[in-house]
């Protein structure tokens, strides 16, 4: 009994935090399974009836298109950014040259930059290049703004690869690119997956650039599409909740499948082992 009494406050706190973090998800999913009538009658009941109608109707109303767009834009951007950041990280972390430190700092400084201070020129540039309101408009800024954190993480990992391996490869006749491609990259698996996950989740949820550079509904990414939904169907709460649940599902699913990797990826450069 004394034992239990001692732990009681701990359990209360743990449960309080559980409700605080978890309840909104419960509310979202529970509401998404209701019909409109049920929602207005009993907005807080956890389970009334389970119907997936809302899910099918939001998918038909354009959510599928948003999904496709988001997948396309974020995957293309992430693959590109991982590759070009790895390329740039190689000389930055493993070669001595005069502007090395300066160049590194210029790249890293991008992490603190408010996106707003680049918004208007990017908007103008996109219009001049005549790619405004296309997927292409998003890919450029997405890549550019993912470069700083990617280089920051990748250079840290690359520095730790022993010089001896590189020297051995060079004696065997490898050029710098050969060393990079055959020696360095194969050893960067964990770092590359960290960078990949970090950027993928951040671009999957990116909003400002999409808001400024995309206007037609059929080209919208998921976050922008959700906001658009809200404007059009603000009365249909269960429908909107179904859309929110669907939109959150991919990241949550990946998280449930490989929790460790996602957590490590999201903590990015902040957690080193």
């Amino acid at each position: 009994m004394i034992f239990l009494a001692k732990k009681f406050p701990l359990y209360v706190l743990a449960l309080f935090l559980l409700v605080f973090t978890g309840y909104p998800f419960l509310y979202m999913v529970a509401t998404s399974l209701k019909t409109q009538e049920e929602f207005f009658k009993a907005p807080f009941s956890i389970i009334t009836s389970i119907s997936f109608d809302n899910y099918f109707s939001v998918l038909e109303m354009g959510l599928t298109q948003y999904f496709v767009n988001s997948i396309l834009v974020s995957v293309i951007s992430v693959v590109t950014v991982v590759f070009i950041s790895a390329l740039a990280s190689y000389p930055l972390s493993r070669m001595r040259f005069r502007l090395n430190r300066t160049l590194f700092l210029i790249f890293i400084a991008g992490m603190m930059l408010p996106i707003h201070s680049t918004l208007i020129p990017t908007f103008m540039l996109t219009q001049k290049m005549e790619i405004y309101d296309t997927m292409l408009a998003l890919i450029g800024p997405y890549i550019a703004f993912s470069i700083p954190i990617s280089i920051f993480i990748l250079t840290q990992f690359m520095q730790e690869i022993p010089q001896a391996l590189e020297d051995a490869a060079k004696i065997d006749g490898c050029t710098h690119f050969g060393v990079f491609w055959r020696v360095i990259l194969p050893m960067m698996g964990p770092a590359l997956s960290t960078v990949f996950i970090y950027n993928l989740i951040h671009l999957w949820t990116e909003f400002i650039f999409a808001l400024v550079l995309i206007t037609s509904p059929e080209k919208m990414t998921l976050p922008l599409g959700l906001q658009n939904f809200y404007g059009e169907f603000s009365v249909n709460v269960p429908g909107l909740m179904a859309a929110l649940t669907l939109a959150s599902l991919p990241v949550l699913l990946v998280y449930f499948i490989s929790q460790e990797k996602v957590v490590k990826g999201l903590a990015g450069g902040a957690v080193k082992e």
Binding site: L18, I120, T205, F207
Partner: protein
């Protein structure tokens, strides 16, 4: 692939060593440029150039995209410093910074400590606690708009259940509560992130320290204040830096939930800039706000850097 090697391998009888060194150096420079170029070019187009362009625009009167820009020097900045809304926005931005550092981070620490508490179900807690950070900010904003709904929303329902109907408020549409409501959501979203950082920090503390402390008769609280907390100081410092820099950039949640309203009560530099640029189309003035955002972030980071260097010189965290 073999190109570089061939150049080196050529018997260079007549060529002097200085030429060879020069050629080698030129080769090295070329290699470096080729490696860095793809990233640098994109970065220059979408990050470096826009900052200069924003500054240039901010020196112009430029009221719509069709009209011509007229150079007006620093007149926009004078206007900005006399703009009450800008000061409100700046104040709100710093309120977000303050709440992030003094609420989110401590809550993140508490959540991380819970994950090491001697209770059952840790795995479940761990999984659920982290979930808010995985949702997109737009989805979070929309979800909480309905949680704060005056009639059907959870918050007011909770108050009704507790029998304090009088306290029911239209959370997001009243000036006195809107800011705090959004701040609650920010805490909800980001506390899990700091939890993860602290969790990693706590795992890194050697078990022997606690064993030794127990032998010396230190209770849990003493163990926390004398071992856990001091050893987590590096994590606290880096979390605070992330929180400060991140908070100055905040936009999505406020844009979705309140749009800066009611009556500018939740205006941030970001939302104000967005309104000026893409709703009123006063591009010159919007660029001025945008450049101030850059400038403020720059100053804050510079201050942090100086403090970090000072701290390193002293060699300690406390």
């Amino acid at each position: 692939m073999q190109k570089e090697l061939q150049i080196d391998a050529k018997p260079q009888v007549k060529v002097g060593t200085s030429v060879k060194v020069k050629r080698n150096q030129w080769n090295k420079l070329l290699t470096i440029s080729l490696f860095v170029a793809p990233a640098f070019i994109i970065y220059a187009i979408y990050v470096i150039y826009p900052i200069f362009a924003t500054f240039n625009y901010s020196l112009h009167e430029w009221n719509s995209m069709q009209s011509e820009k007229t150079f007006i020097g620093f007149a926009n900045y004078v206007e900005l410093f006399n703009d009450q809304i800008f000061w409100t926005a700046l104040k709100n931005n710093f309120l977000v910074v303050f709440i992030s550092v003094f609420v989110q981070i401590p809550l993140g620490l508490v959540m991380a400590l819970m994950l090491f508490a001697p209770i059952r179900g840790i795995k479940l807690f761990n999984t659920i606690y982290f979930m808010p950070f995985l949702m997109s900010t737009v989805a979070i904003g929309l979800l909480w708009v309905f949680m704060f709904d005056p009639i059907n929303g959870t918050m007011n329902q909770l108050l009704r259940m507790l029998g304090v109907e009088k306290w029911q408020v239209a959370w997001l549409s009243e000036e006195s509560t809107a800011m705090w409501s959004v701040l609650l959501v920010i805490v909800w979203q980001f506390a899990p992130f700091y939890m993860i950082l602290f969790k990693a920090g706590i795992v890194g503390i050697p078990e022997e320290l606690y064993e030794a402390a127990q032998i010396d008769g230190a209770n849990k609280w003493k163990q926390f204040t004398h071992i856990t907390f001091p050893l987590l100081m590096p994590t606290i410092v880096s979390s605070s830096i992330l929180a400060i820099v991140g908070s100055l950039k905040t936009f999505d949640l406020f844009y979705i939930m309140t749009g800066g309203g009611p009556n500018n009560a939740t205006e941030l530099m970001g939302t104000y800039m967005f309104k000026q640029a893409f709703q009123i189309f006063d591009m010159g003035y919007a660029s001025t706000i945008a450049f101030m955002m850059f400038f403020i972030a720059f100053i804050v980071v510079a201050i942090i850097q100086v403090m970090e260097t000072q701290r390193r010189k002293k060699g300690g965290y406390l």
